[in-house]
Subunit: 471 residues, 2 copies
């Protein structure tokens, strides 16, 4: 009898793979080992859980563990950690409540995700200093803010106790957010909703690196309008306090805060893979081919721990986002079930809500990176209206569009505005997948009606202006 | 000295061409003859003018006549009608306030637009029976509804008198809209805003033909929820009344109304072109090549009077929409200035606001039409959420996606929902321009964040489901 397919990690990539595999090959076995208790959850929703727009952590779960077990016939084992791979024997070492054991596999999928980076700051271990990456981080922050943390449908997973301690403390007045990335910006909104004074620290000249300075500048101005103190070009040295954080120190600057959130990015979980000789790429994530296969033909990797191929450069890249994980997991599930399916290429498409703004990006925006990839980048930044000029309620949209002088190709774009941004970026993302030129982009037949767009959609206007510059 | 470029018609296509030509060839002359007084106006905004969201007709004007004359150096002559072309002599006959004269041209652009069809219904000439296509139609309706018709910036163009007569009449209580096309649906919303009882008559089984029955059914249900009486499969025979309309008759049905709006579609204005031997296509609009040239190498046509090439079928089509006109005009302006520029292909992309709904379409939806074009259409209709399942305020989006069994290509789509539809259709439109397969569509890296989309955007979900059916 064939050994089961083994999946390590029960979030987006792992559970997508297991589900697809069982759907396409119902007669075969798949075992998923998840070291925690949560599976198939939307960590992207954590800021909205802290903000209070999402009531329970369980709401963030797409498919409950029981549904995988009972409806999808997936042998899902939570509380089981894989610690080693024996590639010759095709087994993994598993530590679970029942002890340590070896599990044989026919094929193995590493879907171990990523972990929040904790920079070497003084006072990282003070009470009131948090990261926000795992499901269990959020209830503690919520308790500290004096909010309920109901756990309606799932058994107590132990996070209740850690969280309860925070419920005893006085609610914070001021918060320092270290890092102006996705989490930092989204959490600024969440904390402001609770009337905290928010200080956002970014060591670089602008927040939101992947979105480029053009979009970031608009976001930073908006954050300030919303009462957020934005400290750019400001490297934090650490946190002060006895047991709990009482201030954040950054050079000569010392700001009193009683809560700190460190959002310094994530790094792929590759430990046991690397130890087993699975090759990592230059990005530090696991190198894979177009089917998600590693340097071992029976070992696949997908999701936040793995690289993917960038559609513009054709090079491996590491952009840990939810769709990439879901897509690759699903494709690998199909491949393992006998239908070889590429995991798909990524454009690094992303969107973010920052208070009243929608901020989006796709492709290669950074001109240095474009040059490294062999392009000669040319860009424009335009402002356009989201609706016909006469239709009430229109809002400005800023588009920064980057093209390649030699080939005329579209390389990437950022957009920022109050409406009509989040899904407009998809037009450019689709153009990237099609390797369209800027000229072709500017001649797309896009939708027009006065409530939704000017006759020339802002994307077309940006295309026209950039095409003129490329001529 | 070279004769001027002559443009017939001063709306989107004509003024775009004249502006682009003068920008690229500032030393040359361009003369625009417009038989009316309005130029460069957004007729698409008329329903919102009647609704009251747009205050004056002048608000609908993109660029005022004086700006064309003074800033763009365009010889714009309003109140001048071109009645004939002498292609051998390369002259047009013009009737203006100064009499009839001949104007020589080096190249001629016919941008005469379209006119509202007036079906042969009894009582079409009764007071209170309107069409809505020209700028002058709308003030009369507004006056009838008891609204102001301020004419702030432009001289009295004569529509004031006709409109004033309507101001004397008792305001209407009930309205019949004949035809469930764009204008019909948008005007149902406008009339309902004024608390009129609205009856919408559609002779076919569904409204919104180009959007397909799947989207139309959702719209019709929504119209009924909004209090609109929707009469499907109901051919109107005519209008009853002495001087003014008092009822609409449709078979055995007779409904009391005191206002009627006939929205029976438009037909291209081709009279003098046809008389001069300019060839029309099968659609009845002027046939053109990829540069907008007619069968006469010195005569171009663009906008609502002209055909364009459909990006899916490769065949000529007639879809009179604003972007097509603007785009083709601009391209022809560039071509005439010495830079040969294709007018671009059309996907028939369109979007419409219907009360609280956004309704959009692109490409080939109608399966019979797909078969005529040599495709073997396969389709799915899916419902998806506009936001992550846990993020508050999400709305359902219905997507109907059509693909070709043989090639796997995407052929077209309709979408309907309360948010996130209008610009999501552009993703599919872009995929059509790139001749993507359904499989490629389902592997696009589209934007995700909980407030704006599920991880799998509805477009991707539709693609996945259709790809499964095409396998």
């Amino acid at each position: 009898m064939t050994d089961p397919v083994v999946v390590v990690g029960g979030d987006a990539a792992g559970m997508s793979a297991a589900s697809k595999f069982k759907r396409d090959a119902p007669g075969r076995e798949v075992v998923v080992f998840e070291k925690g208790e949560w599976v198939s959850y939307g960590a992207c929703g954590l800021p909205y859980y802290v903000k209070g727009e999402v009531e329970t952590l369980e709401d963030l779960v797409s498919v409950p563990a029981e549904a995988f077990r009972e409806e999808r016939d997936v042998d899902l084992r939570t509380g089981h950690e894989v610690t080693a791979i024996d590639r010759d024997a095709r087994t993994v070492t598993v530590e679970g409540p029942e002890g340590t054991f070896e599990q044989a596999y026919s094929d193995l999928l590493i879907a171990t995700g990523a972990h929040a980076l904790t920079p070497p700051l003084d006072g990282m271990d003070l009470d009131g200093v948090f990261t926000l990456h795992d499901m269990n981080d959020a209830p503690r922050i919520r308790q500290f803010l004096g909010m309920d943390t109901p756990t309606a449908s799932l058994p107590d997973l132990g996070y209740g106790e850690a969280a309860a301690a925070y419920a005893e403390l006085e609610a914070p007045d001021a918060v320092a957010i270290i890092g102006g990335g996705y989490i930092g910006i989204e959490m600024a909104e969440a904390f402001a909703e609770h009337d905290l004074q928010v200080h956002l620290f970014e060591m670089l000249p602008h927040t939101l690196q992947p979105f480029g300075p053009e979009a970031a500048a608009v976001v930073e101005e908006h954050l300030r309008e919303q009462g957020v103190e934005v400290h750019l070009d400001t490297a934090v040295d650490g946190f002060l306090g006895e047991d709990a954080v009482s201030a954040v120190a950054a050079g000569d600057l010392e700001v009193d805060v009683d809560l700190a959130l460190v959002g310094a990015g994530v790094a792929p979980n590759t430990d046991f893979a690397e130890a087993a000789g699975i090759e990592l790429g230059e990005t530090g994530a696991i190198a894979t081919d177009e089917y998600g296969r590693t340097n071992d033909e029976h070992v696949y990797a997908a999701g936040d721990c793995a690289e993917a191929t960038h559609v513009v450069t054709g090079d491996p890249d590491h952009v840990p986002l939810a769709l990439t994980a879901n897509r690759a997991g699903r494709a690998i599930g199909a491949t393992l079930a006998g239908d070889p399916t590429p995991v798909g290429e990524i454009a690094g498409t992303a969107v973010l809500k920052a208070f009243d703004l929608e901020v989006a990006r796709t492709g290669i925006i950074d001109e240095e990176r474009a040059r490294e990839a062999g392009f000669d980048p040319v860009s424009v930044t335009i402002d356009a209206e989201s609706r016909a000029h006469y239709y009430p309620g229109g809002q400005e949209i800023q588009i920064h569009l980057v093209g390649d002088r030699d080939s005329g190709r579209v390389l990437g774009a950022s957009m920022v505005g109050r409406e009509g941004v989040a899904k407009r970026i998809d037009t450019v993302a689709t153009a990237l997948h099609a390797e369209m030129t800027v000229d072709q982009l500017s001649y797309l037949d896009l939708a027009y009606a006065p409530p939704f767009s000017p006759v020339w959609d802002p994307v077309l206007t940006a295309g026209k202006v950039l095409a003129g510059k490329l001529d």
